[in-house]
């Protein structure tokens, strides 16, 4: 088994499965922060998926997408937190 096959037939499915698990948490909630955390983790896993996929398809440039993900993903988490606090204050 060469590395590309290993990556695409073993690693990627595991990562997908992880994604699915995280998504289940996203659906279950129960609170909004739970969902936000799940979303955050989804994106982190996404970075891994992209990295692995970059190797599978031999496209180093995919790494740049991962870079963008890493850079700005946390911003939506910050935004959600901001929302939660602000709303609390407004109540």
């Amino acid at each position: 088994m060469n590395i590309e096959d290993f990556l695409s037939y073993i690693i990627l499915p595991i990562l997908s499965t992880s994604t699915l698990l995280v998504f289940i948490r996203f659906l279950m909630g129960p609170s909004l922060p739970d969902r936000v955390v799940a979303l955050d983790l989804l994106i982190t896993i996404g970075i891994s998926i992209i990295a692995v996929y970059s190797m599978v398809s031999n496209r180093p440039s995919f790494l740049d997408i991962a870079m963008i993900f890493a850079l700005i993903a946390f911003l939506s988490t910050v935004a959600f937190s901001y929302y939660l606090e602000k709303r609390k204050r407004n109540e």
């Binding site: 997908s16 699915l20 996203f26 659906l27 909004l32 989804l42 996929y53 700005i72 407004n90």
Partner: protein, 769 residues
């Protein structure tokens, strides 16, 4: 040519001149306005001689040649008759008005409208181009609208104006439809040239439309039953207007049109039969109505309708005798009716009332006027030796020799004429005879013009009666052959004792008897009101009201303010488009193979996508919905990653993040989540959304089976680096191949930023709103 064009346009320019003078200057020289009709009358009179000798004058200037719409005027004898009537009666009315409306604050405006009207009328009767004719025709309707509504402070006159305009406007559009169709079929808009295609007017697939449209045009304008009702309403206008527009000239435009096209329809029996029937109904109906009116102008209005009915009826008989009768009757009617109107006007002006039941014994104060009234009434009744007598003779001659059923036709004519005698006497004689009611008080003597102008018209009635040859040589001699191809019968006041004379005598006797036996009263007038429910007017108004309510209902139903309903309609339409496509054109390309080839990653992505969509739709919290949207965007990113679109993944991801931030910043202000729409709505929307999605998916699958040649894509692949020096082809497309799209795209961004800024920061002060 230039001169003639100037003459036609003179009235419009003149009206502008008056408008420019302003009310103040004009007030001091009201006589100035009368220069227009008088000089025009003189101008047209100068054509009398050559035209009597059979000459025809053509004036042609190209206007919109690409549409063959030209300033094409043709002055033949028929046109001349009308131009003389228009300018002649016009002169009298203009002069009369200077005194009748003396000191009126809006006198200038009145003359402006009147001048426009005159110009329009002259253009109408001299146009040889059917479209140009229509243009002037519409202008008469519009100026009539302004003149009827001239007493703009009274709501009744405004209402009458709108009714008149609606009816004549409908006719106008019909005339346009007629003109365009005739032009289309004959290949020319020239009325004279249309004569060269007689078959079009006689028997063609579209002839029925030609008939419908010309009738609609003529009947509305000339107040034929059942369109007549606007005319009595039009009497809200000042009396000179009624005199001029609604008895002597404008209402005859329809008659003119019918006469003008008589030669064209020569071989079309439907044309004549319809005219006969409609004319007959109109004249009998209107004449009968005069019995129940107490307002002098009301009586005159109905007698005018009756007279118009008689003219249509005569044209409908379609013989040379009847046409001749019609032409003579036009002259007769114009003279006596204008005279009677002016008489009425003076009475009104001096006595302050037009109620026939309150008038009497005015001969002492208004002696000259009473003479004018008497002559006009006699002419109206066909008493010899007025020209009315000749007219009546000709009518009976026509009916007796009319093809269809002479007895019936003659009976109808006699009946109508008896009532016309009655009406004439009622207006022209009754106010002057008997005792003067006390309520009238002291009546001042009128200004010279106020009795002299009707007197001129009355005198002319007498003059033409005494010298019928004048009418013959001026008009009938040429016009009858022009319209029928046959010579006109000789006009004379005395043809010896015959059936016609007998009928005349019966008519006069009957009329006089009626005058003495039937006293008009308000009681009788109101007794007729209960029948009014079925009158065309009230039916039309009812229809209008119904239509208004229907409009309101439909507008409120469709434009009900509920955005969701609007959206729903659009989407239902779109669903239909795709649905019909799928059902009419089913091409299904589902293959199991594809499903088998799926790998786990793809299944996960699809599942996540699906579930996040469902989650976003059904979650009960706004923020969760937005988070769901985030997941959806994320799965889109993954798809873009897997299928070779890194730039897309990047952009989608960053935009999604920004969108989430935006939402979050805005949302914390909003109240708790929404009221839910009711179950029925949700089910309905669900069904629509689902079927839309389904049909769309089918269509997409179908499109994916097309195999387009992607020459553009190939070109980009080959040349992105070589010619555009970039290796990221998507970016090269964005900044080079299709770079301008990006330029515009950033403009869109710029605009939206400005918009956001303005929307949130701009707070107008109260006075700025």
């Amino acid at each position: 040519m230039t001169v003639f064009l100037f003459v036609i346009l003179a009235s419009f320019l003149f009206s502008l001149l008056l408008f420019g003078m302003g009310q103040k200057v004009f007030k001091r020289m009201t006589w100035f306005a009368s220069l227009l009709p008088i000089s025009l009358f003189l101008y047209f009179s100068s054509f009398a001689k050559p035209i009597m000798n059979g000459e025809v004058f053509n004036f042609f200037t190209a206007w919109v040649p690409s549409m063959s719409i030209n300033l094409d005027f043709r002055l033949d004898n028929l046109a001349l008759l009308f131009t003389l009537l228009i300018t002649g009666v016009g002169s009298i009315v203009f002069l009369y008005t200077t005194q009748y409306m003396k000191g009126h604050p809006k006198l200038m405006r009145f003359y402006v409208f009147l001048s426009i009207f005159m110009g329009a009328m002259l253009g109408l009767v001299t146009s040889n181009n059917i479209i140009t004719l229509f243009i002037f025709w519409e202008l008469t309707s519009i100026s009539s609208f302004f003149l009827i509504g001239f007493n703009n402070t009274e709501s009744s006159s405004r209402k009458s104006a709108i009714i008149a305009l609606s009816i004549t406007g409908l006719g106008g559009l019909a005339l346009l439809a007629f003109g365009v169709l005739a032009g289309q079929l004959t290949g020319t808009y020239s009325i004279a040239e249309m004569l060269q295609s007689p078959e079009i007017f006689a028997n063609h697939e579209y002839t029925v439309y030609l008939l419908i449209f010309i009738f609609l045009a003529a009947f509305t304008k000339s107040a034929q039953f059942p369109f007549h009702f606007w005319l009595p309403g039009a009497m809200k206008a000042p009396t000179p207007v009624s005199t001029y527009l609604h008895s002597a000239t404008m209402v005859k435009a329809g008659i003119y049109l019918l006469l003008r096209f008589t030669p064209h329809f020569q071989n079309n029996s439907y044309f004549f039969t319809t005219l006969l029937i409609v004319g007959a109904i109109t004249m009998l109906y209107a004449a009968f109505q005069t019995l129940f009116k107490t307002d002098l102008k009301g009586i005159l209005a109905y007698s005018t309708i009756g007279a118009l009915g008689i003219m249509v009826f005569l044209i409908g008989i379609g013989t040379s005798a009847s046409i001749t009768a019609a032409i003579v009757f036009i002259v007769v009617h114009a003279l006596y009716k204008a005279s009677l109107f002016l008489v009425t006007g003076t009475i009104d002006h001096q006595a302050g009332t037009r109620d026939i039941t309150k008038l009497g014994g005015l001969r002492k104060v208004l002696m000259p006027l009473s003479i004018a009234g008497l002559i006009a009434a006699f002419s109206s009744g066909g008493f010899p030796p007025t020209v009315g007598f000749i007219g009546k003779d000709l009518i009976y001659e026509a009916t007796l020799n009319g093809g269809l059923n002479p007895t019936v036709l003659t009976t109808m004519a006699v009946l109508t004429n008896i009532l016309m005698v009655f009406a004439g006497l009622l207006v022209g004689v009754k106010p002057f005879t008997g005792k003067q009611p006390v309520e009238l008080g002291r009546i001042k003597k009128p200004h010279f013009l106020l009795w002299f102008m009707p007197m001129i018209l009355a005198a002319l009635s007498l003059l033409f009666g005494l010298f019928p040859a004048m009418v013959e040589s001026l008009f009938t001699h040429n016009i009858t052959p022009l319209l029928t191809g046959e010579a006109s019968p000789h006009l004379a006041i005395w043809h010896g004792f015959n059936l016609i004379i007998l009928l005349s005598a019966i008519t006069i006797a009957g009329g006089i008897a009626l005058y003495f036996l039937w006293k008009p009263s308000h009681k009788k007038e109101s007794s007729m009101i209960k029948f009014n429910v079925w009158s065309p007017k009230s039916l039309a108004l009812k229809f209008a009201d119904l239509f208004q309510r229907l409009s309101y209902f439909l507008t409120r139903t469709f434009q009900n303010g509920y955005l969701r309903r609007y959206v729903l309609i659009i989407l239902v339409l779109l669903t239909l488009v795709f649905g019909v496509h799928v059902f009419v054109n089913p091409r299904i390309f589902l293959s199991v193979k594809e499903i088998k080839e799926l790998n786990w990653n793809e299944i996960v992505i699809l599942a996540m996508m699906l579930v996040s969509v469902i989650f976003t739709v059904f979650t009960k919290s706004r923020l969760s919905a937005i988070a769901g949207m985030g997941v959806l965007g994320y799965t889109m990113c993954l798809i873009f990653v897997f299928y070779g679109a890194p730039d897309l993944a990047m952009t989608q991801f960053s935009i999604d993040t920004l969108t989430v931030i935006l939402f979050v910043l805005v949302l914390y202000r909003l109240p708790k989540y929404l009221k839910l729409s009711n179950r029925t709505n949700r089910v309905r929307d669900g069904i629509i959304a689902t079927s839309f999605g389904t049909f769309l998916a089918f269509t997409i699958i179908e499109i994916m089976n097309e195999t387009p040649i992607k020459s553009t894509t190939e070109y980009y692949a080959e040349n992105a680096y070589i010619l555009a020096k970039g290796k990221n082809v998507v970016n090269v497309i964005l900044v080079d191949f299709r770079g301008f799209d990006t330029m515009i795209e950033i403009s869109v961004l710029a605009i939206s930023a400005i918009g956001v800024f303005a929307l949130l920061k701009l707070h107008l002060k109260k006075h700025e709103k």
